[in-house]
Amino acid sequence: MRISSGKIEGYILILMTLPLMVLGGALAFYGKEGALVFHGGLIALVTSYAIISIFRKMSEPAQNIPLEYNDGVIRAAVIMTGIWGFIGFFVGSVIAWQLAFPDLNIDLPWTNFARVRPVHTTSVIFGFGANALIATSFYIVQRTSRARLAGRFTPWMVLWGWNLFVILGVSGYPFGITQGREYAEPEWYADLIALFVWVAYLWVFLATLSRRAERHIYVANWYFLAFLIAFAMLHTFNNLAIPISLEYAKSYSLFSGVKDAMTQWWYGHNAVGFFLTASFVGMLYYFLPKAAGRPIYSYRLGIIGFWGLVFLYMWVGSHHLHYTALPDWVQVLGMSMSVILLIPSWAVVFNGFFTLNGAWHKLRVDPALRFMALAVCFYAISTLEGVFMAMKPVNALSHYTDWTIGHVHAGALGWVAFITFGSMYKLVPWVWHREGTYSKRLEAWHFWLALSGVLIYVGAMWNSGITQSLMWQTYNPDGQFAFAFIDTVDAMHPYYIARAFGGTLYLIGFCLGAYNLWLTIHPRTPIQMPDQQELKPLPTVNLNKATVKSPMSVKATETPTGPAE
């Protein structure tokens, strides 16, 4: 891959964006629902802005592209991670309080729990999670390949395109635009945009890898590749739907009943498996060894863990459908594979822990590393817990209860978000060229608030889930149920308050973290630049000259000399 002015890339992007622009215009023109018209207009606006700016940039005279890593898009992704993180955690806390005190629903269409809940899930998974992944994967793939990110426009299209998708999602739910599929709620037109973005993301990643100056692809990138490929498959098949017209946002799933359930949970569990696990393991495999200053413990465990995870995750979705109308053989198969899945999961866990050997003392002084170590702990706990919950007898107790919610949040708050926080505390100083974060003490406060928050949350949910399930199953001696359903709801009240309290602690911790990083980026006092030398603009290369060189020599000159890695 040569350095290019991006002419071909630009035209391809414009060609791919044009249909989306037309689609947006059509939705805005024909739409009968206010929210749909807004969505159409937004799509048309964003895509036309993208097309115009690509044209403008392309028509500028061939300029010198600095020979350095492309960190601008990473910085933007970090900011978006913070914004979506706040929205996601804030809305999560609000709906947790709604469950504890139902009057908080206010009974307006757009404030009721069930319409707002997907705002929470989408914001944290596809807003906070995905932006963190875009930031870290773009960082990691450049450093471990020693190559500048491929594409002049595409990385930006990936970032803003994806955020457009998330905005379309969360702004639609309060107005009733949803597919009614958990974790795949955005309607068909948003899904099309997501697919377009995803293909672009995969291209950026592969093109960057193809210009790498290292022979081997680093293990973190394997996981990102798996995440990119698997999610493309999952997203495409699970969102096959027939729109009723351009006037309404509504579409109907192509599948129905049992088949739809299986497809949805094949997607649903692998959104967890690949979106919230594989990719974050990639983050772990770079940031943990960097922060600990230790090499990864085992290459072999890395290989076993990776292929085991890629192979096994796709089988286990059916454990969400135990004792349902899904054929029994699929349930048993899903259960069995869920048990085996512990092996690759814990291969990662052991690799993480053993990598920390020799660096455990750093946990005392480095809250970021503490976040990462605890993330591995929570990963270990929730994967083990997941095995149990996937077994039919345990599932008979846990399914339909808050235990599932507790399990998900042990994974999401404890594993996914902790590894993200730990990585962000390292990444932000690196990409903004700071010596460290603004305050280690604030980092530590964030850590302890977040940890107490998760423990209270998960503890409350374990208790409420098991309590409620046992109450549902309690019979009087005469064979009647001891508790009416509403009795079991009453019993949840204290736990729901505890959960909302834990979630609020977590939110406060997050705000401290965001404040800390904001001050890291925008220090109140001008920072001393100890290494002015390094921050001088790096040598540039003239495009026209660079492209005539042989690929090998281009690669060599292209290898940035940025911050030492």
């Binding site: 009968k32 139902p102 629903n105 009974d107 269409p109 009721n112 729990f113 069930a114 009733g176 949803t178 009614g180 958990e182 890898l209 193809s210 692809i217 394997w222 590749l225 798996a226 490929i229 098949f237 027939i242 009723i244 017209s245 006037e247 509504k250 109907y252 192509l254 599948f255 129905s256 009943g257 049992v258 088949k259 739809d260 359930a261 299986m262 497809t263 949805q264 290459y299 072999r300 290989i303 890629v310 096994l312 796709m314 089988w315 059916s318 004792y323 349902t324 109308a325 054929p327 198969l333 594979m337 339909y400 209860t401 919610i405 199953q473 149920f481 359903f485 509403i486 709801v489 729901y496």
Partner: protein, 256 residues
Amino acid sequence: MSKLHQMIERNSLVMVLMITIVASIGGIIEIAPLFTIENTIEKVEGMRPYTPLELAGRDIYVREGCYACHSQMIRTLKTDVDRYGHYSLAAESMYDHPFQWGSKRTGPDLARVGLKYSDDWHVAHMKEPRRFVEGSIMPGYAFLADNDLDLDRAPLSLKALRMAGDPYTDKMIAEAKQDILRQADPELEGEDDLEERYGEKVQIRDFDGQPKRVTEMDAIVAYLQMLGTLIDPKQVSDKIRAEEAAKSKALKGESQ
């Protein structure tokens, strides 16, 4: 092994190919058969596609996100069956695009809620859940009774569902709007037409207590009141069990 892997990890395209293959296996083995094996969904008498009014109600159910708190899937467990009725059969959700089995019971299961409560109870409960069920944490849905139902959507919905494989006829699509009115307004003529198209179990009445209007409340109550009422699951499962017993008997006979 490590030599082989060195080859994979040095070539991104080989890696992509390997990941694609390895990750596809599980889905193909578990999902593809569901589409080809005939007995995934047993054939059941009485199942029919939703009437336009019920479908509109179902769309509202999906729109409001009811599945976040209510399941529609009674599991094959004694405690489930004792509390909610006969376990759900695959056929009962065969016209559900998307399925709404749910994953959480913050509120009770609704798979067989139809005709358990009166229309008035449903309407009043939706408007003010805590007036009737002390301690309920359900949000109120009074606004459904104020919103007129959008009739224009009905034919479009039916057409889309036909493309997805549901047996809606041209007549059903053409009459969709009128059928909504027929079902929600008993004074309108044409009840027989409606029954002819959707069977005798179609419930025809004013559901929301506002006879002059067809509101979203009409639709959602019509939907809730038909849930689980179309088939007699006990009869069906007995029949299946008898067939299977006969089959295994025949097999034993052959082997002797």
